[in-house]
Structure formats: C-alpha cells, structure tokens
Amino acid sequence: MLVLSRKVGESVIIDGQIIVKIVRVDGEAVRIGIEAPSEVPIHRQEIYEEIQRTNQEARTSGRMPLPRLAKPAAPSRAAPTHPNPA
C-alpha cells in the first residue's frame, strides 16, 4: 500500500482524474472530499463489503422454488414504482 502524508487542504490525484482531498481532521476522524467521474462508484468500504457479501449469497442459478409472499403489515399505498399493480 502506498502511504503518503498530506495536510488539510492538500490532495492526491489518482490516474489523472480522481482527486482525493483532505477537508478536515477532527481527532480520529478525517473528512475527505472525492472528485471523480460520475461513472466511478464510490462507497464506504464496510457498506460495500456488506452488500457485496449479500449479493454473493443471493446469487442463484434461477431455478429455485419460490416462497409465497404474505401481505406486508402496513396498509398498502399507491406506490408509483409498483411494477405489478394487483
């Protein structure tokens, strides 16, 4: 791993297009700003890994028997994103 020292307000630039700037240091917390092309996904590592693990566990060959879904507890509302209105 490359390790560099930077002061508040200083940056590193990665691959000519991604800028990581030290915005503030407050005790053990470092606030960083990242400028990257919009198609470059940026995630907090622990959240990325949690979702990655969940995706890997959820992966199937598409041939599983499906459970029957119960109605959710709260009353249904007209959701504009509902793909299959009953």
């Binding site: 996904p41 995706n55 959820a58 598409g62 499906l66 879904l69 507890a73 793909p83 299959n84």
Partner: protein, 139 residues
C-alpha cells in the same frame, strides 16, 4: 413449484444496462429482468451472457410499504432521473431453504424506466435498512 422453462408461460423480458454492474459483480453490465405472471410479485434478474448468475428480485413495497430510500443527487444524475415517477425499484432476495429468506433493503436497484439504465445504489439513509430484512412469507 417448478420454475423449469417448459412448464411456464412466456415471460416478459426487459433488458437492463448496469454501467457499474452489481456490487461484487462489477464486470456484468447487461441483465435481463424476467417477469412471469405465476411468479409475481417476484422477478428474475439474469446476467445476459452467463446463465449461472441470476438474482431473485421483488418490489420493496411488497415487503415494506413505508420503504423510502434517499437516493443521492449523484446517482439520480447518473440515471438521469427527473423525479420519483421515472424510477422503478427492485431489491434482491436471498432465498434460504430453511425458510429464513430475506430481502436486501440497504442496496436497492434503481431503474430508469425510460432508458432501462440501472444501478445498485447505497441510499443516504442506508443505515435505516437491513441487508437481511425478513421476507414475509405465508407458507
């Protein structure tokens, strides 16, 4: 219940483009969303060029009617969403044989229904939701 192709009706197929793939599956950019009436409200998200990769998805509102992920401006811009009506939401289901199935509400898939461009996003309020939200089953 069998899901063998020869036993079921002709499915609805919708091709989706994921410029960033799914988290952990970044190289797969093209998926097909397959809907069959007898499997509703579930749909299958299948990798277009790899028959061995499929995810079961469901509208989150079938699971939690109050679901309200706070999508970042960057993600909305990337997907060119003008408003909530432009988006369809799907969440990935983890099926477990012991019946302990769950839905990932922390990493929803947002689809622009006009362009078919999609992304698995991490909403600002992701900490309000679980990657293992219990799937409410009736059997």
């Amino acid at each position: 219940m069998s899901t063998e192709p020869q036993n079921i009706s002709a499915p609805g197929c919708q091709k989706l483009h994921f410029p960033a793939g799914l988290l952990g599956f970044e190289r797969i950019k093209q998926f097909t969303l397959i809907s069959r009436q007898e499997e509703s409200p579930f749909k299958w998200l299948k990798a277009e060029h790899d028959e061995t990769i499929a995810f079961l998805v469901v509208s989150p509102f079938e699971v939690l009617t109050s679901y309200a992920p706070d999508i970042s401006n960057e993600d909305a811009a990337l997907l060119k969403l003008g408003g909530p009506g432009d988006a369809e939401l799907y969440n990935i289901v983890t099926l477990r044989r012991n019946g302990d199935s769950s839905v990932n509400l922390k990493g929803p898939i947002v689809v622009n229904r006009h362009t078919q461009v999609a992304k698995q996003v991490v909403p600002h309020n992701a900490s309000d939701y679980s990657v293992r939200h219990p799937l409410p089953t009736s059997d």
